[in-house]
């Protein structure tokens, strides 16, 4: 399974050749454009768009469907920066850090430079992420071949705990929703004995709660209802001007780009934590390491570069654990994982044996999406920003109708539409009370893995917990979990003693 550098690049080249047929390119180009539009429009997020598209592309071939999803993923994460710059409203949550300095630049009449730099930075980030995806994934998969049941169980718990720590102001709220997600995934027939759990005799519940309708509800319906309840005013859109950034500016900030890319990939790898956190961390690091930190918040190009490179680099990062461990690195990656499963491919340590071409196809798709995003971003930015004039009170009901089709189409089951509605209301409540959504999606997707591996581990050890603390990788995972819990519990205790 070990691949030399030459083999790797040859396989990647072959994957590219498979993509470079007219129909595929057309699909990719159209998806990139649509993804940028989704990113630009506040209220339409990357997670929402990708979860809707899983159902809508289900009847297409695996390659075409995944090309659509990857292209939309990449360009929607990028597109958010445009509305962040022009309106100070990030089109996707991951563009919030970009908006700080980008919008200040727009107010100084530099909107074009900010958007152009954001576009190039997103491109550098995407390519950087794809290259690390190419080199790190096989390594991680090789390590994961040594994983047994205890490791996979702990990995699932690790993902939920860490995701809760990083995505919520109060980590415990993140853990609670993550574990509730695990419980949701228990509904239906379990995989070892085929015994129905939490079904209460309902045949619809036997099939379990599907991930995609739940995600469409949590991210789509909840967002639609939130925006409709308070649509706000569009605000004046600044004129854009010249978009192509001067090459000097790009080169000057190349070191910042590379550092931000690395931060983005690393945060992308962490389960369930994605593009938005990557952008904030990278922005924060750039500010502290900058020679002109006083410019941050007043229109620093460096700030735009740091945030925008990191959020796109996180995409490649989030696909690394997705392909090697079947653990999604971000909420969008969770949806992509669901889609990959639906198309009959099983990511995980055995991916390289069972579907050797798939890994290279995904990498090639990511790279291609990066290039298309650069082209589309630089050429049609002036067109896409016009869409900001479309009133959200018209757009959101249409999105609601799309949510219904998206939820229904995956299993052609009307029950899923009710599931979507239920999770939409749940998502609303969670937002209202400051519970993050990402850990719950991670819980729903990791539940079956955690459940089966815990029981398998205990069956093999005849009930002994020793394997969890004697196997080296297990110990490391346990220590990280304990540290994550301990540190945030301690932090909340000390916070209290200082504020009380």
């Amino acid at each position: 399974m070990e691949l030399s550098a030459v083999d790797t690049f040859r396989a990647l080249g072959e994957a590219f050749l498979r993509l470079l047929e007219p129909r595929m390119l057309l699909v990719a180009l159209f998806s990139t454009f649509m993804g940028t539009v989704v990113g630009v429009l506040p209220g339409l997020t990357a997670t929402m768009a990708v979860s809707l598209l899983v159902g809508l592309t289900f009847n297409l071939s695996t390659e075409v469907a995944l090309m659509v999803l990857v292209a939309v993923y990449v360009s929607a994460i990028y597109g958010g920066s445009q509305s962040g710059v022009l309106l100070n409203i990030p089109g996707t949550p991951s563009a919030a850090a970009t908006a700080i300095d980008g919008h200040q630049m727009a107010r100084q009449g530099l909107a074009g430079l900010a958007i152009g730099t954001a576009t190039v930075s997103s491109f550098i980030g995407t390519v950087f992420g794809a290259l690390l995806l190419l080199s790190v994934t096989p390594l991680l998969a090789r390590i994961a071949l040594h994983f047994g049941a205890p490791e996979f169980f702990l990995l699932a718990v690790f993902g939920i705990i860490v995701s809760g720590n990083l995505s919520a102001k109060m980590p415990i709220k993140g853990w609670i929703v993550g574990f509730l997600g695990l419980l949701v995934s228990m509904i239906g027939l379990e995989e070892i004995h085929g015994y129905p759990r939490f079904t209460y005799g309902h045949t619809d519940l036997m099939g379990g709660i599907s991930l995609i309708p739940a995600m469409v509800g949590l991210f789509g319906v909840a967002e639609v209802l939130t925006v409709l309840s308070n649509p706000g005013r569009g605000g004046a859109v600044a004129s854009v001007g010249r978009v192509l950034p001067p090459i000097g500016a790009v080169l000057r900030y190349l070191p910042v780009s590379l550092r931000s890319g690395l931060i983005g990939v690393l945060i992308g790898i962490v389960p369930g934590v994605g593009e938005d956190v990557a952008a904030w961390v990278s922005y924060d690091v750039a500010k502290r390491r900058s020679r002109a930190p006083e410019q941050f918040g007043r229109g620093s190009l460096e700030g735009v570069v740091a945030a925008e490179t990191a959020n796109n680099a996180a995409i490649g990062g989030s696909i690394i654990p997705l392909l090697s461990l079947a653990i999604p690195g971000s909420a969008v990656a969770a949806v992509v994982l669901g889609a990959i499963w639906l198309h009959g491919v099983r990511p995980g340590p055995l991916l390289f044996l069972e579907f050797p071409e798939f890994f290279f196809d995904m990498t090639a798709m990511l790279l291609l999406s990066g290039f298309l995003m650069l082209g589309v971003g630089l050429s049609v930015a002036k067109v896409t920003v016009r869409l900001l004039h479309v009133p959200r009170t018209i757009l959101m009901p249409i999105v609601a109708a799309l949510c219904v089709i998206g939820a229904y189409a995956v299993n052609v089951r009307f029950f899923d539409v009710y599931v979507m509605f239920f999770f939409g209301l749940l998502g609303l409540l969670m937002r209202r009370y400051d519970y993050p959504v990402a850990p719950m999606t991670l819980g729903i997707i990791l539940g079956p893995m955690a459940d089966a591996n815990l029981r398998r581990a205990l069956l093999i050890s005849k009930g002994s917990l020793l394997p969890f603390v004697t196997r080296p990788i297990s110990i490391i995972l346990l220590l990280i979990i304990a540290l994550a819990i301990f540190s945030s519990v301690r932090r909340s205790v000390t916070d209290r003693s200082t504020t009380a």
């Binding site: 102001k169 109060m170 415990i172 004995h193 609601a400 109708a401 539409v417 029981r455 009930g463």
Partner: protein, 139 residues
């Protein structure tokens, strides 16, 4: 719950473990909430639960804004629920057209013809695009 031989492979084991963890997290959360100062960060839930009884003295216009937002939220959720239910009774195009027309009219508040045209166009595009181009089965 049945054990199927060994208690370690029982289907109820994992939900039990998760349940215990949730109880512990719940206790932790309750403890931290009870010790938190009333105006501390992260107690949005307290604010809202107390909201009905003794809300902090907000200005009248602020309260009205919150009320309007709540009403819009209820109407939005209600319309969506009605749409979902209508889908199992009416044909797809009719339910979708009605849902779009009513919600756009309610939230956008322009001339009736405006909402009617937009919803008819959107319904046609959605139905044709997904059934003919993407081969997606419509509810």
């Amino acid at each position: 719950m049945p054990r199927f031989g060994s208690p370690y492979g029982a289907p109820g084991l994992f939900p039990f473990v998760v349940g215990v963890a949730l109880v512990l997290f719940g206790i932790l959360l309750a403890l931290s909430a009870s010790r938190m100062p009333q105006t501390g960060a992260g107690d949005a839930d307290q604010d809202s639960r107390d909201g009905a009884g003794h809300a902090p003295a907000g200005t009248g216009s602020h309260d009205a804004g919150v009320e309007r937002e709540g009403l819009r939220l209820l109407v939005g959720a209600g319309l969506l629920l009605a749409y979902v239910v209508a889908l199992s009774v009416l044909p797809y195009w009719l339910a979708t057209g009605l849902f779009l027309a009513i919600s756009i009219q309610w939230f956008h508040r322009r001339h009736y013809a405006h909402a009617a045209v937009i919803s008819a166009a959107a319904t046609t595009v959605i139905s044709l695009l997904f059934s003919r181009v993407f081969f997606v089965p419509l509810p």
